[in-house]
Symmetry: C2
Subunit: 414 residues, 2 copies
């Protein structure tokens, strides 16, 4: 299987890109390849790395707009959790497919997920051709259902090279110390990553200080869970010492600017984390607290809030934000992708340079971070295959119709 | 000229909408009209009021991404102003057409503009079929060129019912007191509106307090410029007394959340202004400080920043934000539009309910504010005419090609 893209814009020049066996095989001004599927972009499409969504609860697409403008506890206890308790594995499979379609449309090829029935999400990921890290869920006293879902995920993900399985304890206030310790122990033997909500709210930090005499980052570090295999979601309320720990251990931060604003969790200090040497990736969080999965929207909010938090317009530079949304997320994904370079897995977006917001053309990265939205994405390639080609995603309308049925059912529960 | 839309979704029900002579002529479940252009939406498109952009410098599309991540003074003095000084009326005509295409694509039918060569912007507005309030520009010692541009605007706008001409003194620190007084005097006789930047930065407020012993709002009020014909752009740094004045006078605030964040101007307190009874509209500001003209993006930032500023997630309710971006802007535009109701001027967008982000369908307004981007806009009708039909805008590619030429010229000035 070979694909040859000709006259694609890259770093301001027309070039050719050959994709073979899921990898970038050659990149040069002029290339030819016998038997290849040839696409001539005529200089009208730019090749860029796609987006890697570092923190998601994908199937929450089923709850988009279900309950808005509420106090956090009312929202969770009276609206979100009661519905989630009723969702079946099949519902979550459908909701994850809807999420995949939306992510593909906005240029994302990978998401780091944490949600119920990850074994059902796996089917959706495989059918839509995306990459993902799916989570073994730990929340409260892990139920037998959750245990069997986790076991099913491990079994089904075996040998799937576009999917990794990580431990996803929800948070330090919903997972007790013995369980966190046992996850740290499992990580030593199974080599898996960990993905957890950390220091999302001021209350979480206060409570942790009271209970453990440590910040949430210090506490997790004391349990051996802050390391180069950890994705720490939110990290809104960090001390300087927290940042030092995260940087020294090589852990990742998943920055979720929209969710942090929507839930009034606080503002993540991008520049402080960057200066401390932390690895910062970007995630959308679930659609209930966003309410979309567009990494393009998320980059804009990340850049704007970086400026606001640092109180200088030189903060949140477009190159740093784009790097976080692409390269750093891909690094955590660990699938040899995130850059358009020979030998790398062929993940790529083609961006429409004829779109009104892309037409000035002074600064492609600034245009992507600040001016673009999903409508500029012409095509999405993941692992060498087109997930969207010339704005068409196979089966999109079927997926949407299925999802609507589930949402009608949820509405009937009210 | 008649257009009949059948099976359009409105308030959750299928309906028919008849447009005749630029107005909504009838709205009922079943309608027929001889000789009408009939569109059957099959329940897949929702009818909503379009967006009215309350504060813009449209032709700055030519400078989108030209200079990013800089200190305000460096950015303006060394990058933006030197280029603006060289832009011709023809350049601004082309830049405004590019802005119009982008605004139409994202569902906007009206903008309140302030920029050089408004007489050239007028041509663009008329050719693209949008509505606008264009500004008589006052900045520093108004040059002879600016004076003749202003005179040309007044002459050319005469009798154009989709365009109004307003006084647009730039700000209190760039327009002196005698000039502001003479504008107030002109307004008494010519009945025009006024559009001015107010209390955008902390420095502006400090300087005004030092020089006049009053806040910028108090100062403008003392000159008679705060009234029901005034659009006060930004209003980031307001006192309680300022809000009382604005509410009592019936003046409008143009809230520009993205620009305020990008330039680190501060955060506008939406809830405080709402509680005080101020009329709040929403604007994108120019693309140099945004960098797009999408009112959909702007609504999301307005909702998020309202929550952050009030520190409660119940602030910035979706209905209030949508009202600000549609009804309140339309009210200032003063062209009998902004609502889908019989007798109103026929301004309307058709939203694609089959789009992945719109498919849950629990709350259309929340989906528009938080989940949508320009890709959900299927069609745009202004004054009874399609500006975009099924995502096609006439002459779009020509306009983009022309704009690119101008941007290449600007790049060559570096």
């Amino acid at each position: 299987m070979k694909t040859l893209l000709k006259n694609v814009m890259r770093n301001g020049e027309k070039t050719s890109i050959l994709i073979e066996n899921g990898k970038f095989a050659a990149i040069a001004p002029e290339l030819s390849a016998e038997g290849a599927d040839i696409i001539d972009a005529g200089g009208k499409l730019a090749a860029l790395p796609p987006f890697y969504n570092a923190h998601n609860h994908a199937a929450m697409t089923l709850l988009r707009g279900y309950a808005e403008d509420m106090e956090l506890f009312d929202w969770l206890s009276n609206h979100i959790w009661p519905v989630e308790a009723k969702l079946s594995a099949e519902d979550i499979y459908i909701g994850t497919k809807l999420a995949a379609v939306e992510m593909i449309r906005s240029g994302t090829v990978y998401f780091n997920d944490s949600y119920w029935h990850p074994e059902a999400a796996l089917r959706a990921v495989q059918e839509t051709g995306m990459r993902a890290t799916l989570g073994l869920l730990y929340l409260g006293n892990v139920s037998d259902d959750a245990k069997s879902a986790n076991a099913a995920l491990i079994e089904a993900a075996e040998g799937v090279d576009t999917v990794r399985v990580a431990h996803t304890p929800h948070a330090i206030y919903t997972v007790d110390k013995p369980m966190l310790q046992s996850i740290a122990k499992m990580m030593e033997s199974d080599g898996r990553q960990v993905h957890i909500h950390v220091s999302e709210t001021a209350k979480e930090v206060e409570d942790c200080l009271k209970e453990h005499g440590m910040t949430p980052v210090e506490y997790l570090d004391s349990l051996g869970l802050v390391n180069e295999r950890a994705m720490l979601a939110h990290c809104v309320h960090l001390t300087g010492h927290d940042r030092e720990i995260i940087a020294a251990r090589g852990a990742y931060i998943a920055h979720n600017p929209v969710s942090n604003m929507k839930l009034c969790s606080g503002m993540f200090n991008f520049e402080a984390a960057k200066k401390a040497g932390c690895k910062i990736a970007i995630g959308t969080d679930g659609t209930s607290s966003n309410n979309n999965l567009s990494m393009i929207d998320e980059m804009k909010s990340a850049a704007l809030t970086a400026k606001v938090t640092a109180a200088v317009p030189t903060a949140g530079k477009t190159a740093d934000i784009f790097h976080a949304a692409t390269v750093t997320g891909a690094e955590f994904a660990g699938m040899n992708s995130g850059a358009i370079a020979v030998g790398k897995a062929a993940d790529m977006i083609l961006v429409d340079l004829e779109h009104p917001v892309m037409s000035a053309g002074y600064d492609l990265i600034a245009d992507m971070v600040y001016a673009a939205d999903s409508s500029v994405i012409n095509s999405v390639i993941c692992n060498g295959k087109f997930l969207m080609r010339d704005r068409i995603i196979p089966n999109e309308s079927d997926i949407i119709a299925e999802a609507r049925e589930v949402c009608r059912k949820i509405a009937s529960w009210r």
